[in-house]
Symmetry: D2
Subunit: 145 residues, 4 copies
């Protein structure tokens, strides 16, 4: 499955959302949210999205990030919150790519792709069918929010 | 005004609350939330609480942190959220001390005191009466949540 | 100028280096350096490299990041330090792309490309000739180390 | 052993030093180093100082932070580096308190006390004599710098 044409600047592209506060510690002397904090927001969304698909995982299974690319589109400033949309854009046999969009009010601050490799112990492994089905399905609303 | 006897481990001590996601980037190799992330949570609560008392501030006025002390009481781990309670514990003429408690579910992870000095430009300044009254009053529920 | 074939996993590709301590706060519960800390290391190298080419800049000139892509190649753990190599890989009229490699001992932990846009005030601007020449020249050894 | 009268704003109080780069991600929209980054610098010094005294530790032994207090004395800004001095100020049977001073050029940006509790597994434990002697001795120069 590949869906590389999805427009990550469009909130309608996402069904899975989390919200993060913009912390003072997320900003830098440029007066805006630092790029590493935007990467942390992407990670929060990614980890939350993958967790919902991993309820049934066995002991040594985990995801590691292999690639991240980000496009920075607008500056964001506190106070306020950002909403992070996350969606599957590619499903491989041993890895997945997730797309993300970070929005503050109606502005898209950044978009990102994260490629996550599936490991069992120290070795890459084929993503189990149950996890694949869970990832491909529309996620339920995030339980903790 | 001084209220140094308040029990910051008791959620009932607080009327003002914010919520923060525990991000993966907030954790460290000890497997728990890093102490600097707990300090960032305290800052988020403090800045939000002071902002509600500063609607009427003039241009050069700002707060700077002069002192922070924190007691670390329990380890926290993701996934989940923390709730940060913030309250006034001392009002001086040119500074205030805020107390904070960080809670995950019903456990108190940390408590803190932050002393903030009021500046006008580069100089310490007497806190204006309108700001004092606003700080002393019970804060309204945080608007952005 | 474009030099997209440079091998960023090879230390010999770089003439400009900085060193960063791996802080505990840089790690996460996975027991390794968090990807956002690796992005902070890339930023440290990038900012230092651009600064050496900006001694003569005028008031409103600054760089903003437009794109970041990172490949994560090996896990890193404290204690220790990382060395970050930074080099020019593309010079456009209004932007530059810098390549980076992060090394711990002789292992490459990550490589990255950062595209930085030149601004004068709020507008993109043509990179001044003096800055272009300074960027294209071999950088001197970093003064503060 | 207690040495609470030591002046942590005086570089002569310290024999053990590390150096940290001031990263852009360490700053905030106030234009200065964020207080959580200053806490990270204190942690870097503390962990490095304790590590030199723990060469001989056995498996389940570790330190956890129980208390941190910091006095913020001057604003710091990049570019540049900070030097962090760390020293023992109190040795208890199951905990130690370390003092720290953060200096940029000749200015003291902040001082701190960190109380670290010694654990064996999940339980507090008496600090072994070999560790006590190592902590009390003048530390050797930090090996990795």
């Amino acid at each position: 499955m590949t869906d590389s044409d999805v427009d990550l600047t469009d909130p309608a592209s996402f069904e899975y959302w989390i919200t993060e506060n913009v912390r003072i510690a997320d900003t830098d002397m440029g007066g805006h949210i630092n790029n590493t904090a935007l990467a942390a927001y992407v990670e929060s969304g990614r980890v939350s999205r993958l967790r919902t698909a991993m309820q049934q995982r066995s002991g040594g299974e985990r995801w590691v990030i292999a690639h991240l690319d980000m496009d920075f589109r607008a500056e964001g400033r506190p106070p306020g919150q950002v909403r992070i949309g996350t969606r599957l854009v590619r499903m491989g046999s041993k890895s997945v790519t997730l797309g993300a969009g970070i929005f503050m009010a109606d502005r898209c601050l950044a978009t990102a792709h994260s490629t996550m490799v599936f490991l069992n112990g120290a070795e890459t492994a084929v993503i189990p069918e149950a996890v694949r089905q869970s990832l491909a399905a529309s996620p339920e609303a995030k339980p903790e929010e």
